[in-house]
Amino acid sequence: MPSLFVLANPKRFLDLSGAVLPWLAAATVLALGAGLTLGWRAPPDYQQGDSVKIMFLHVPAAWTAMMGYGLIAVCALFSLVWRHPLADVAAKAAAPMGAAFTFLGLVTGSLWGKPMWGAWWVWDARLTSFLLLLFLYLGLIALRNAIEEETRAARACAILALVGAANLPIIEFSVDWWTTLHQGESIFRAGGPTISAVFLWPLASMGIGYTLLFLTLWTIRIRTEIIERRARSLLLESAA
Amino acid sequence: MSIAAITVTNLTGIRGQRVLFRGLSFRVAAGQALSLEGPNGAGKTSLLRMIAGFLPSAAGTIALGETSEAEERGRLIGWLGHHDGAKPQLTPREVLTFFAQLYRAEADVAGALAAVGLASLADLPCQYLSAGQKKRLALARLKLSGRAVWLLDEPLAALDADGKKRCGEIIQAHCLYGGIAIAATHEPLGIACERLVLT
């Protein structure tokens, strides 16, 4: 715990993150570049042809979206229980990004689905859970924007994030249960359990790339938020 | 149950981004009334809400007798706020009976209504009462609460001359019996009290 509070001082965070950021960005570009190249070079699947390669865009987006919500829940915990000063800022910065990745996951999932099932949307367990995750994100963003006072907005969103995080496994379970009720086995198996090595490398690389992308953008957004708040308080002080 | 004194030590109050007061200290002993004065926005309501335990303070302590924890303090307080808390569909008698039950206090509803001059309107739904009459109802409710410490926010607002007189008498009687009262007000309460001015 103490080590995380090293980052509690906004100025120290700005200094540290400023130093780390270029490396993060470079690593992101490398990972994404490697992933895309490997993905492009991979042979087509005998069942799905080239369209299986959308998986390289879709699956990492899915992982990142879920990871995003997990991170927000952790920030919420830090904010409420340990009163970590930057936790609110981090959660606020992460929510729109998580929503964007979820949206990306839904769109790529839909694009992947069209050649496979002939429909732009199916009520598959994974896609439906995803849609609900998007709503959870939108709820967080809406609540944050609707409450005017900043500290109150931060705490309310923290409570909502924790309630959502606790509920999310139940929601996923219920959607899974619902699919077995109506459609039988889920037809959306990203590569399935026997994913061959030639697909594994690009997938892993894209996964790392997306995560790094999330972290890079997140760091940038947190920095921006800290600087904005500082500017605002300086303005208020000079006016008073 | 009476309290020896309200002790406020080194209190700093922040509202939004504004610092309302810093290092505020005062003491109100049993049997005393305090009139809290100051311009609008000075922080009178915020101070009352802090004492009541609704609003956390940025620094300093507040103690009611021995109790300093926020929600425990709340159990010792009778509150009269800006708004009258009178549901339009309920009658004064129903409002007072409910709060007496909620506060597990004595149920001399008729007596409380008589003391504020609302006896004749006891069974009329509150939507038909005037603002001054609802304020009297709030006073009656305060009287019924049986709490030792009274916090009043603009108690004289909307009251006519008779109402203000009754209000002063009720607060005075409360203090005479060993209670404490702090009232944020723009006009004189008409009773003997200490004054604290926030700027």
Partner: protein, 218 residues
């Protein structure tokens, strides 16, 4: 605590209260759907489970934004918060009162609507039972949403967005139970629904109280 439950119930059932509103909305939606999809009773029976459950959830949600708001606006919430009751007890009382004036009446009306949708008797029974078990979770989760949106001016609009995703398990299990009864199967839906309802109702007062505490500071 009973005093608070009774008072809220009385407020909701008097003129201008919310109990009748929920029933009317439920009936209205249940009437609109056949107008939209056609009067084929076989089709209606197949969609009845889902439609009626969704309609019930929406009807129960209607009055949620008023759960704390009206007491907050007229200063009663301050007074109630200062009573000997803890905020958690107050939250529980409010949830109970809300269920008594929305969930329970909706459950009682549901057999009639089930008939209108051509459901056979044992499915109607399961419908009523599922609503009885499931609607407390709507009140419980809704209370968290109501407490979160207390200080927002048009909070009533954002409340459904916050609460509906959280209620998905209730709708899935509730409607699933009715569907199973219709198909003559048995799945564990009612048990899952009961587990969800109990879990949510136990946890909600704490989350709700935390949100109310947050908003009392204003």
């Amino acid at each position: 605590m009973i005093a608070l439950v009774l008072r809220d119930t009385r407020l909701a059932t008097r003129a201008g209260g919310s109990a009748v509103l929920a029933l009317a909305f439920f009936a209205a939606v249940a009437t609109l759907v056949p107008l939209g999809v056609g009067a084929d009773l076989r089709l209606l029976a197949r969609v009845a489970a889902g439609v009626l459950w969704v309609a019930a959830v929406l009807a129960a949600l209607l009055s949620l934004d008023r759960l704390f708001q009206s007491d907050f606006d007229d200063g009663s919430l301050d007074l109630i918060a200062l009573s000997p009751l803890s905020l958690e007890a107050i939250a529980t009382a409010k949830i109970a009162a809300h269920w008594l004036t929305t969930g329970l009446p909706l459950t009682l009306l549901s057999p009639l609507l089930g008939l209108m949708f051509g459901l056979p008797p044992q499915a109607i029974g399961v419908l009523a039972l599922s609503l009885l078990i499931g609607t407390p979770s709507v009140s419980a989760l809704g209370a968290i949403g109501a407490a979160l949106t207390l200080s927002i001016r048009r909070g009533g609009l954002i409340l459904p967005l916050l609460v509906l995703p959280l209620l998905v398990p209730a709708v899935i299990f509730g409607a699933g139970a009715v569907q199973a009864a219709l198909d003559g199967l048995s799945n564990g839906a009612l048990l899952l629904l009961a587990a969800f309802s109990v879990a949510v109702t136990c946890v909600s007062p704490f989350a709700t109280a935390a949100c109310v505490r947050l908003n009392l500071a204003g």
